[in-house]
Amino acid sequence: MTKLLEKAQVVENKEVASGIYKCRLRTSKIAKECKPGNFINISVGSNSQFLLKRPFGVHNVIGNELEILYRVRGKGTDVMTSLVAGDSLDLLGPLGNGFSLFEGKKILLLGGGMGIAPLYYLEKELSKDNEVITMYAVKTREELVDIKVSNLVVHIDKEEGCFACDKLEDVLIKNNIEMLYICGPDALMKLSYQIAKKHGVYTEVSLEARMACGFGACVGCVVETVSGLKKVCNEGPVFKAEEIWG
């Protein structure tokens, strides 16, 4: 997979939940090359405060357009909220290794908060050839993004008085889940994997890390694995959960 540098045009950039934005970008080649689990690096603007590109998981691909979902979390994402249709920005991608794709399996996707971002695109691809359930966990209703997938289970911590992983075991057993894909906070991923492991459910996780380049040169984004430090950018961001937590 060749990594490409392109100028992309903003098609739409709108708030889709409290402090959460969806940005659609028109690309010439990158969108078509993106597989579920890949990420792209975006230059936030020409402001020298933000030289480094920001990594975002690919949320959706429609023809030559791609979407990212982002939460305003720092100065860079704050600046991004002012992007409007027609704005042009530097894009680098596709980056990283995607999720493993299977056929004829019973699969559960578990997205915690912004972790839903890459799972939406994964669901679109996997649901062609598999039975897929998407479990989407958020803390509060305000941060819930309207996600359109066929089998959606929404979990709101505050309203249910428990975490999504507290219900995970039931979902795994009841639906005879064979594969689990998780993206979300570390604690959610780790706990969920431990439950999945108990039931012999193959698990992949998508990690997040600070990085300068996104393609393996800076060595800034390492994560501890059972076989030493690995780079999230080009050895991940998708890892087998057993590689991370044993």
């Binding site: 040169a217 800034g220 390492v222």
Partner: protein, 300 residues
Amino acid sequence: MKSLEVNLGKLVLQNPITTASGCFGYGTEYSDFVDLDSLGAITLKSITLNQREGNPTPRIAETPSGMMNSIGLANCGIKEFIQEKLPALEHLKKVKVIANIAGHSTEENVELAEILDGQKRVDAIELNISCPNVDAGGLAFCQDMAQLKVLLNKVRAKTDKPLIVKLAANVHDIVNLAQVCEGEGADMLSLINTVTGLEVDIENRKLFFSRGYAGLSGPAIRPIALKAVYDVSRVVKLPIIGMGGIANIDDVVKFLMVGADAVSVGMMNFVEPDISQRLVGGLQGYIRAKNIGLKDLTLN
């Protein structure tokens, strides 16, 4: 087309655009973006005898016009370097390959130089005595002239390849340091390494990096780097590879004008991975438009 060839003593480059160690991986990371053979030289990531995992995360912080890093010389070790990294560059015919060594002791650097001396694909050896992110070796070598002399002498004795010494600007007297290098057999100098700095995590009321100090790079340090090149080039005769926040062709020209013979692109490779190759074209365009040669890029 005007020639961009530069003669750095024993090392001849097809053009003066090179990449800085630590910002260009082992070269192949950039092959999707850059025709490596279009560059003057690539300087590979610092290498040590044994594999090094490097420092704990976070290793990266963004700053105005730059970034800080505390990678800690993470590298694959000399064995894998020779077995896997160098062969991946074997097919390149025009670009020069500079191996950067960063042993924690004099002995380790001597051993690394001896091993690399036997490697055909290594065109020059850069001795990194200015990394701020390690406990032993690194910047400490810049602060003890007696130890530095011993180091340079012993490394020099082990290799006939062009020997570059990479210095830091945050030292007591960089001109004196450069003179010591010149006196002890260095063939050229790389100026400058990252500038030591500090970042604070105010949310958790602690220092951001686990080691506290980290290295600042990018356009933020360019004026410091220009000064170092200017000061050193007026006193020392060795060829100088200037680096520190080069982000466009004007920056390249500034370094050449104040006394650099070649330049290295560092942090900006992360931001614009194709920048090094674009700068080769940019420099060609610059001298063509002015109808001058590289040698004319001097101060009045």
